[in-house]
């Protein structure tokens, strides 16, 4: 059910941008706050509609919630996000939500977690990864496999290289597509790296998010490693306007990604028409 607290779910609340982190040349994380708190509570994997009021609205996954702010990691890909990348701290934005089902954090309790991300796809995964660390005793071994085109394109570098590897019982594997001078780590695509690492499916839930082509090959690799469809979770993207399952466009089959998704397990996805 909806935990949308607002009277009219289509009208945004005003938030202030309190911090902007430049993650990569085309990804920035925006920290937003309302009255020293959050406009609403979100669960990992849920979405919110962010608006630059005179320009446009866009649906983004909330990449983390702290007590006093929400974080959105946003890639510059179009009119609205281009504009968003030019704003400064202090700017007011509109935000409405939360929308969507979010990750099944309860169902995953007691399991080993395998996170597989590519590019900006780490943004939604990050909310679940950080949730696991916050509730560390509830989850088993945590493995993170992440890749980007280049070193510069890796998001959340400080967490990837410094914070997360320090967490208890956690392995972080990072790869980039092509060799570079300043990189002495693994080189190659994420699905190939996943096969090389060959994680054990026993009691494990795999959560993947990234470009469609990466997801396609990651799903094939997981199947080869004998992960069952129920053990594999991903998030889907579609164009969205309302966020509340009314405006029509984000359907795949009879499911609305904004309301019934964006998180699905592979068993659910296989029942949908192949439009994802």
């Amino acid at each position: 059910m909806s935990n949308c607290s607002c009277e009219n779910p289509l009208v945004p609340q005003i938030v202030e941008v309190i911090k902007i982190v430049e993650e990569t040349p085309d990804v920035k994380t925006f920290y937003v706050q309302k009255d020293n708190g959050v406009p609403f509570d979100v669960m990992p994997g849920q979405l919110a509609m962010v608006s630059l009021l005179p320009t446009g609205e866009g649906m983004f996954s909330v990449s983390w919630q702290e007590d006093d702010h929400l974080q959105f990691a946003i890639k510059r890909v179009g009119v609205m996000t281009d504009e968003l990348h030019t704003i400064d701290v202090g700017q007011r934005l509109g935000v409405r939500g939360p929308y969507g089902n979010g990750f099944p954090v309860e169902k995953c309790k007691g399991r080993d977690m395998l996170f597989i991300g590519g590019g900006i796809g780490l943004a939604p995964l990050r909310s679940f990864i950080k949730y696991c660390f916050k509730h560390r005793e509830d989850y088993g071994k945590i493995t993170i496999i992440y890749g980007s085109r280049s070193y510069d394109d890796l998001c959340f570098k400080e967490e990837l290289f410094e914070k997360w590897p320090q967490e208890k019982d956690t392995q972080v594997y990072v790869t980039i597509d092509n060799a570079e001078e300043k990189w002495d780590g693994h080189v190659g695509y994420v699905p190939a790296y996943l096969e090389e690492l060959n994680p054990d499916p026993q009691n494990t839930i795999a959560v993947t998010c990234g470009p469609p082509i990466m997801i396609k090959f990651v799903l094939q690799a997981l199947e080869k490693m004998r992960f069952s469809d129920e053990q594999v979770i991903t998030t889907l993207e579609m164009r969205m306007k309302c966020g509340i399952g009314k405006c029509g466009r984000c359907n795949i089959g009879s499911e609305y990604i904004c309301l019934d998704g964006p998180v699905f397990d592979l068993a659910q996805l296989r029942k949908l028409p192949p439009e994802w």
């Binding site: 009219n8 009021l53 009119v79 469609p212 579609m238 164009r239 509340i244 009314k246 439009e275």
Partner: protein, 338 residues
């Protein structure tokens, strides 16, 4: 039975218009639709209670073609958002046919149920009373009965009018209907009249099993073939009484402006075009298929009924001759390819 003579109908509308904005089927120039009685001009408009479906369905009365949602003024830290106040004037849709009444029922399901309530829709819908005109003489492209619509007893109607010899029977069905009845009571006579026997439907189609069968036809070559004449002009979606998809857009002058929604169409490429250029329904075939699957399968899976009330408007208005009745027949004939 409550009855009034045909000649009284304008008086009845006039009376209802004292307390509500009454929308009446009219022929205005080349266009027929539901227009406000307040705008009626006897030199220019013809009231057409006898005509079956007017060209434009009355969905705009509850879901306006464009509708302001909120305005904003962004002056640095003094950013203000002001939700639009929705007019609360009562409205009556007078003379609406069963297919269009059913379409409002479907929209009620979409906008008022399933986790979220659409406040804009609700505010307008709450104020609307429906005075339906039962159909005893279906038209050449009418097939509502095939789509599960009771053309003689529209369920969501507050009042049902039944055309009889020389007049109409007035039948109140709800509390809202009783209020309207009180308003016009002195214009109604108590009289036993004989109801007409309804005429047969010219066009029929058997929808049974179509939703289930479509599950295996997603990749069928039929979509390529039958979408070929489609111009993706979207007239079918604009004229459809059940099509409710909307877009959200912004109008601004500098830092001030407003956000509004407007009817959108799944037939347009931009409908699913994402920032960055990816489009899951890029080809006309994919959009055509999604429209029919939404109407005949997906909506059924979610809401338990097809999203078509058999009004026939898309058949009449399509410039390429796409005919939903024929599509249903073709779906029934198709052999699943794999």
């Amino acid at each position: 039975m409550k009855f009034f003579k045909k000649g009284q109908i304008e008086k009845i509308v006039e009376r209802l218009a004292e307390k509500a904005d009454v929308f009446v089927p009219m022929l205005r120039g080349q266009q027929s639709g539901f227009f406000s009685w307040k705008s009626y001009d006897e030199n220019y408009d013809d009231i057409i209670f006898d005509l079956l479906n007017v060209y434009s369905p009355p969905k705009n009365i509850i879901l306006p073609q464009t509708e302001k949602m909120y305005s904003f003024d962004q002056q640095g830290q003094e950013t203000i958002i002001k939700p639009e106040e929705i007019p609360v004037e009562p409205k009556v849709i007078f003379g609406i046919r069963s297919c269009d009444v059913k379409a409002i029922e479907y929209m009620d399901e979409v906008f008022l149920t399933r986790t979220f309530v659409d406040e804009y829709y609700k505010a307008r819908r709450d104020q609307v009373a429906i005075v339906a005109n039962a159909c005893y003489n279906p038209g050449t492209n009418c097939f509502c009965k095939s789509m599960g619509v009771d053309h003689l007893n529209p369920e969501a109607a507050d009042v049902i009018l039944r055309e009889v010899e020389n007049g109409y029977v007035w039948e109140s069905k709800t509390d809202k209907g009783d209020i309207l009845t009180k308003q016009v009571e002195d214009l109604l006579e108590d009289q036993e009249v004989e109801l007409y026997q309804p005429n047969r439907f010219v066009r029929k189609v058997n929808y049974d099993g179509v939703a289930e069968k479509l599950k295996d036809l997603f990749d069928h070559p039929m979509w390529e073939r039958y979408s070929d004449p489609c111009q993706t002009c979207g007239i079918c979606t604009y004229m459809c009484p059940t099509c409710y998809c909307f877009d959200v857009q912004v109008k601004n002058w500098g830092d001030e402006g407003y956000r509004f929604r407007c009817w959108d169409s799944c037939m347009y490429r931009e409908y699913t075009l994402m920032a960055g250029g990816h489009n899951p329904r890029e080809a006309a075939k994919e959009r055509f298929r999604n429209r029919f699957l939404h109407k005949l399968q997906f909506f059924n899976e979610r809401y338990g009924t097809p999203l078509c009330t058999g009004c026939g408007r898309c058949i009449v208005t399509c410039p390429a001759g796409v005919d939903i009745i024929r599509m249903i027949e073709l779906i029934k004939e198709a052999e699943p390819s794999v």
